[in-house]
Every structure is written in structure tokens, then in C-alpha cells.
Symmetry: C2
């Protein structure tokens, strides 16, 4: 009997933004695995679904936020061993991931480590509401219309070619902006786009925050889960 691994996107934060299908998969699960960044802290994905899975066994998997590949690899191997042990018993395991499993999720790593460790299992992926769609809903902003085009980029890797991207695309979603606000502002000013930006932080959570005054944020300490949407 082969085990089955579900990747369930739980959306950006509001529990009611789970899909009906995601809820059904969670309700039918015995074990729900959730990622978290620190052993001593809670899991964001778990906080979203906790009311839906009161009777379930929860498996918390720690994936520290570090660039040290050796450390990360060790944590990944440990996580895959735990999940793999359940799959080998023929269990269904649901991995709950923030947003959508295909966009910046840790699910692809978990899956590849499970495969590397020689586990045999089937997979089903349930999509979720991603953070920029939730942000656009909050702002009542249409991201793209007709034949327009959209770019989703991460600030750390794309700050040097942001201008190039902004030239080609009608709308650019810049993720992980917390340390790059000043540089982004500079590019927007150079391109006459300084009034086209929307800052959104922790969208879908109780402390969600948005602002069109990017300059006013320069002195603030910004959250890691912050984005800027530039809508030309």
C-alpha cells in the first residue's frame, strides 16, 4: 500500500480563504504536517488552519531561515525522514503550506528529499490563494487586464534589473522588499513611477497593513512578509 502526500495551499492568512477542496482534504487527514521557521515559534500555516484540524495529529517540521546549505540540508533530511516513515506505512499525509504550493513554497523541497530517500508515494496538489492576489483584493486593485503582463520578482535577486523589468511589464509585484525600500524608491523616482506603488504587509492577517506613501515608510522597520505592487 502506497502512501499519499497532499500539498494543500492554505492561502495568505484568513482561514476562510482556504478552498472547499483544501478543507475537505484537511478534514479527511489523520496527520497534518506544517512548516515553521524556528523550533520555539509557532507555524503560520498552522495558525490559519488550527480551527479546522482540532482532532488531528500535527507534525511540525522546522526549516530554519538560513543561507547555510549544510544546516538546511540537515533539517530537510530530518523532515523528510519523519514524513517518509508515515508514507511508508501507507498513510495519507497533508502538508499545509502558506499561499499556493506552486509559488515559493517549501513543498517542492520536501517532495524532492522524500524522493531522494527512496520513498514511494503518490502526490496531489491543492492550489491556494497567493499573497499578491490577496493583496490586490484588499487594495481593490486590478493587477492586469486584457493583454497586459505581470511580473513577480523577489527584491534580493532582482533589484539590479528592476528598471529593465519595469520597462517591459504593466504590473510588477516585488516580494521581500523589507531591506530594499530605498533602492526601489530610487528606481521608481527615476522612472517617474513614484506614485504608482502600493506597499502591503502581512496581507490577510489581523495586523495587515497597506500604504501608498512609500516615502513615509523609509524610517520604519518593515516586516519580512512585505511586498510592493507597482501598477503603471
Amino acid at each position: 500500500m502506497k502512501g499519499k502526500l497532499y500539498a494543500v495551499g492554505v492561502g495568505p492568512g484568513e482561514p476562510s480563504l482556504l478552498t472547499i477542496k483544501a478543507l475537505k482534504v484537511l478534514e479527511e487527514a489523520r496527520v497534518v504536517a506544517v512548516p515553521k521557521g524556528k523550533a520555539e515559534k509557532g507555524s503560520l500555516a498552522l495558525s490559519i488552519i488550527k480551527d479546522y484540524i482540532k482532532d488531528k495529529e500535527v507534525l511540525e517540521l522546522v526549516f530554519p531561515m538560513t543561507d547555510n546549505k549544510e544546516v538546511l540540508e540537515e533539517f530537510w533530511e530530518k523532515a523528510a525522514e519523519k514524513v517518509g516513515a508515515l508514507l511508508e506505512k501507507g498513510e495519507k499525509v497533508v502538508f499545509a503550506t502558506l499561499g499556493d504550493p506552486s509559488l515559493y513554497s517549501t513543498f517542492s523541497y520536501l517532495k524532492s528529499y522524500l524522493e531522494k530517500q527512496g520513498n514511494s508515494f503518490s502526490v496531489e496538489v491543492i492550489p491556494g490563494i497567493n499573497s499578491f492576489s490577496a493583496a490586490a483584493s484588499l487594495l481593490q486593485l486590478s493587477l492586469v487586464e486584457g493583454d497586459q503582463n505581470l511580473a513577480v520578482v523577489s527584491a534580493p535577486q532582482n533589484i539590479s534589473r528592476l528598471k529593465e523589468v519595469l520597462k517591459i511589464f504593466d504590473t510588477v509585484v516585488i516580494l521581500k522588499v523589507n531591506k530594499y525600500l530605498e533602492e526601489i524608491m530610487k528606481v521608481l523616482e527615476e522612472m517617474g513611477l513614484e506614485d504608482k506603488g502600493y506597499f502591503v504587509s502581512r496581507c490577510g492577517r489581523e495586523d495587515e497593513y497597506f500604504s501608498r506613501d512609500l516615502k513615509g515608510l523609509l524610517e520604519e522597520k518593515l516586516d519580512y512578509l512585505s511586498m510592493i505592487i507597482v501598477r503603471k
Copy 2:
């Protein structure tokens, strides 16, 4: 008493991919408005939600697929008049739109025509699962990881700069590919990416179809709702 207009994303096709929040808003509605392309044909959005809204008044709004702006404008004005009349009575009207309301939805047009006609109403937008997240789930494909970046472009407007976009982005979702398959294939071959494409059509519907053999599709008549995902 001011009316309220809800934009509800109903996802790509599978009724269970509606969010819990979208379902709640639909259940509480008296009138549900849906877009459709031809007066004599059914509405795709309606076909997704029909089992959830059996007791509701359905307002079908025709938006023909034409590039003739005058014709379109006439249909838009008519649609806005119908919705506006309900809003002016203080009603709540739910506009159900395919996918996500912020991505290529007709909702932004409806809203702007309603505003032009001087209606006063409040707005709430409920995000939905977009077509490329659903396609990625179907393919069990991770679109972007870590600090990678994603482009979503429409084939008709971007075919000439597809190479440029493919150079910058890790993953490119090309929408409306039905008439551009040959040109896209040519670019992929020139860039050595001919085995990196995934074709997906009518994702989330009963007749959904996907293929990695893009060449094999060159002789086929392709659906308007087709996309190619290029994952480098």
C-alpha cells in the same frame, strides 16, 4: 442605503476550488451576476457555481469577444445599467468571475462603468484560484522557488519580446497561446528550451488537457483557454 458590489473569484473550473469565503458570500446573495461571451451560450462562471446558488436570481451580462470598442462599450453600459439599478435600491450584488478578480477579469470594467454612470456603492473583492496556479497543481510543478521570478504574459502582445522575457525570468506563463504555438516553439528551440514547456488547456474543467509534446500539438485546433508554462 448604499448598495454593495462583491467581486467573487470562482477559480478555474472545479467548483470545490472556490474559497470558503466566496461560498459564504454567494450563499448570502439574492442576486448573482455572471459574465458571458455570447447571448446564446452559457456562462462559464455560472456553470462553476450553479449548484451553490440554486435559489438565487441570476443576472447574465453579455460581454462579446470583440475588438470593436464601440460595440463593447454599448454592452458594458447596458450591463452597468442593470447592476446599477440594483445597487441604487441598496441591494447586494455578487459578480462572479472566472479565476481571480485581479487577474484578467472583466470586473474592473464593470466597476468603472458603474462609477461613470454615477452610482454610489461599496465594493468587496474576494480572491480566487488563478488558472496558472491550478495548472501548476495539475502538473505537480513548482513554478518558482527561493528568489526566482515569474512572468505572466499574453501571447498576442508579447510574442515579439518573448525571447527577452525568457532570458530574465525563471518561469514564464504564456496565456492565449492558441494562435501562437508555432512562433513560441520557434523561440523555445532557438533558446534551447524546447523541452521546458508544458501545454495546459481548460484546466480545472472536465475536459482539461495537458501535454509536454508541444510539437505534437502543431496540427491541432487549440482552445482559447490554453496556456504554455515554460519552466527553465
